[in-house]
Amino acid sequence: MTTKSRRTTTEQPHYRLLVLSRIIAAVVGGYAFSTVMILVMTYLLPLSQKDALMLSTMLSYIIYLLAIIWVFAVKTVRTAWIGISAATGLLGALAYLLHSIQQ
């Protein structure tokens, strides 16, 4: 059993490393997730491209916020990383798909 599968309690060894890991997952991972979400929403929203981009970007801050909260709410650091990476990857793939459809 690795330390990553337990909760991030102060008594654990590598506590600070785990916290740092979560921070990176939240800040960097969340940012990537929000950006990809902007791309997808720009393609999907029934507005002009300029408006869709503006609205998605405005909403992206809320999305970023939710991603950060989620990363710190989940039980393990591993879940946080898997979750944020998978979500970003899936949306990224969707964005790519939508981009190629539009060509």
Partner: protein, 545 residues
């Protein structure tokens, strides 16, 4: 992350708030002052005349036109500011002379004054020029500008720092709501005095919840100001390196002279057309391009507070008075929404009462941050004690708190004092006013390192109080715009600022006395009652000497 969602959010709230708390305090202080930046501008230029007495718009325009005809008949453009709007405290006329041979033709609408051309302030009763040679100063605008541009660093660097801090604050606010929402009504009416950390928690909660809609709006809208700066990747991916879309505000074509002389259409009539379009007393200024030429164009602009960053204007042929086609920019619903949110942040439409409410909300924001920072230290004082001394980290936070919460307002007072005390003809005095402010802040940050915590708080608050109480006094001895004159004349802007200084000074004295008389407010900690409280059990400590 922690044992349950609530504790995880508490952790997140604590740290996202603490790490950037001092920068956020600076942003809130400068932003709060910024709601009155135009008024502060006037206070910091005491050579300018007192507020123009009220006069009908058409009378003002007639006076201004007469003056401009005699002073600036050959100018490329005239601008008449009609007194009565917040941005136009005077009947102020300015003009742009034709470029000398070899000079670049002027860009934009070509108003003078602020943009570099000559200008005059006219007495609204007599039409005579009032002397006005203001000292070189950054004024209230520079103080306000620090709210987003900070200082001593490139603009982009500041935008990113402020943006990151804003995002941290967004996390802090929403996690704050998450941890309190179940008890939000009960907590709002709960205030337990004299119970150490519990009291600080109650104060922090009450202050934060009272203005919660404002704080959520302010934080979210703050992020929107740099929409594509903070999230540039999507536009780059979508549009390549043409980059993010930027809205440009066009001030219209520069146009060219005809060279044929033609009498100018009556500006009083042009004003009437403007009032038909925008409403009585809603015209803010009138601009004339190429007065006296047959290609003249008159542009009439309504008061700033009516439109949300969309700047409509009425354009009229300068010789015939025929209304020119000037379709407003098409703005989509999404853009309008963005504009509205930004306008609410800035309070562009706010009248005097609303503006004071904004100021109050800003002060509450500073108090929210301050109580949060103090709460952090109070909760941890017993734990941080090791061998009778605080850990370095804890000590650092305690001292930074004093120097920022009590000291930064004092530094702002130093900015205003510097405005009065630095010699008027000193080169670079504008920058020295700012240096004085930051040097003052640095000293007030260092000072607490040499005092006990309790003494530090009391003394820095008293120093800040003294600085503010001195301001009206220094004003009296150095200018003709002190309370004695402003109250007598009825210039409520100038009087209001001096009175606010007095109020701030008295508030700081009050706070210092409260700390002195009730040491338990900062030093005593209390046992917890409930198991799910996140306060750890603590013992009594006396932390002041």
């Amino acid at each position: 992350m922690k044992d349950n969602f609530h504790l995880s959010m508490t952790w997140l709230h604590t740290w996202s708030g603490l790490v950037v708390g001092w920068v956020l305090f600076f942003i809130f202080v400068t932003g709060t002052a910024g709601y009155f930046y135009m008024e502060i501008d006037r206070w910091m230029r005491p050579e300018q005349p007192l507020q123009s007495k009220t006069v009908a718009a058409d009378v003002a325009v007639a006076m201004a036109e007469k003056h401009l005809q005699s002073r600036a008949a050959g100018a490329d453009s005239w601008t008449i500011n009609i007194p009565g709007a917040r941005e136009t405290p005077y009947l102020n006329v300015s003009w742009r002379n034709p470029p000398k041979p070899g000079e670049e033709p002027n860009q934009g609408r070509g108003g003078g004054g602020r943009f570099g051309g000559p200008s005059d302030i006219l007495d609204t009763q007599t039409g005579e020029v009032q002397p006005s040679k203001p000292r070189e100063t950054g004024g209230g605008l520079l103080l306000y500008r620090m709210h987003w541009a900070l200082h001593y660093m490139p603009y982009e660097a500041a935008a990113w720092i402020v943006g990151i801090c804003t995002m941290f604050m967004f996390v802090a606010i929403i996690t704050g709501v998450i941890i309190i929402y179940k008890k939000i009504f009960r907590e709002f009416f709960t205030f337990r005095k004299g119970k150490g950390a519990r009291s600080w928690m109650d104060m922090h909660t009450v202050i934060s919840v009272t203005s919660l809609p404002f704080f959520i709006m302010i934080t979210f809208s703050g992020l929107l100001f740099y929409l594509y700066t903070y999230m540039p990747l999507a536009p780059k991916i979508l549009f390549g390196d043409e980059g993010a879309q930027r809205e440009r505000r066009f001030f219209g074509d520069q146009g060219k002279r005809d060279g044929n002389a033609a009498p100018l259409f009556s500006l009083v009539e042009a004003l009437k057309l403007g009032e038909q379009e925008f409403g009585k007393n809603q015209v803010r200024n009138i601009n004339v391009q190429f007065p006296g030429d047959s290609a003249a164009i008159i542009t009439i602009t309504p008061k700033y507070d009516r439109y949300l960053n969309e700047y409509p204007q009425l354009k009229v042929n300068g010789t015939t008075g025929a209304v020119l086609d000037n379709p407003p920019r098409k703005v989509s619903a999404v853009e309008k929404t963005n504009n509205v949110i930004l306008a609410i942040h800035e309070g562009v439409f706010a009248n005097t009462l609303i503006r004071w409410l904004y100021f109050l909300a800003g002060v509450l924001g500073c108090a929210m941050i301050a109580t949060g920072l103090v709460l952090w230290t109070v909760k941890r004082r017993p734990k941080a004690m090791k061998n009778g001394k605080f850990s370095f980290g804890h000590n650092l936070v305690e001292r930074l708190n004093i120097g920022t919460v009590a000291g930064l307002p004092g530094a702002v007072a130093i900015y205003f004092l510097a405005n009065r005390l630095i010699p008027v003809d000193l080169a670079g005095r504008r920058e020295w006013e700012v240096h004085a402010m930051f040097i003052g802040w640095l000293l007030l940050l260092i000072y607490p390192a040499f005092r006990s915590i309790k003494r530090g708080w009391i003394e820095v608050f008293l120093m800040t109080a003294a600085l503010y109480l001195l301001l009206p006094v220094v004003n009296f001895f150095t200018t003709e715009r002190h309370l004695g004159i402003s109250l007598l004349y009825g210039d409520w802007v100038l009087a209001g600022i001096d009175i606010t200084f007095l109020a701030l000074g008295c508030t700081c004295v009050y706070i210092a006395m409260k700390i002195k008389r009730h040491p338990s407010a900062i030093t005593k900690a209390v046992k917890t009652k409930k198991a799910d409280d996140d306060l750890t059990p603590v013992t009594n400590e006396v932390l002041s000497s």
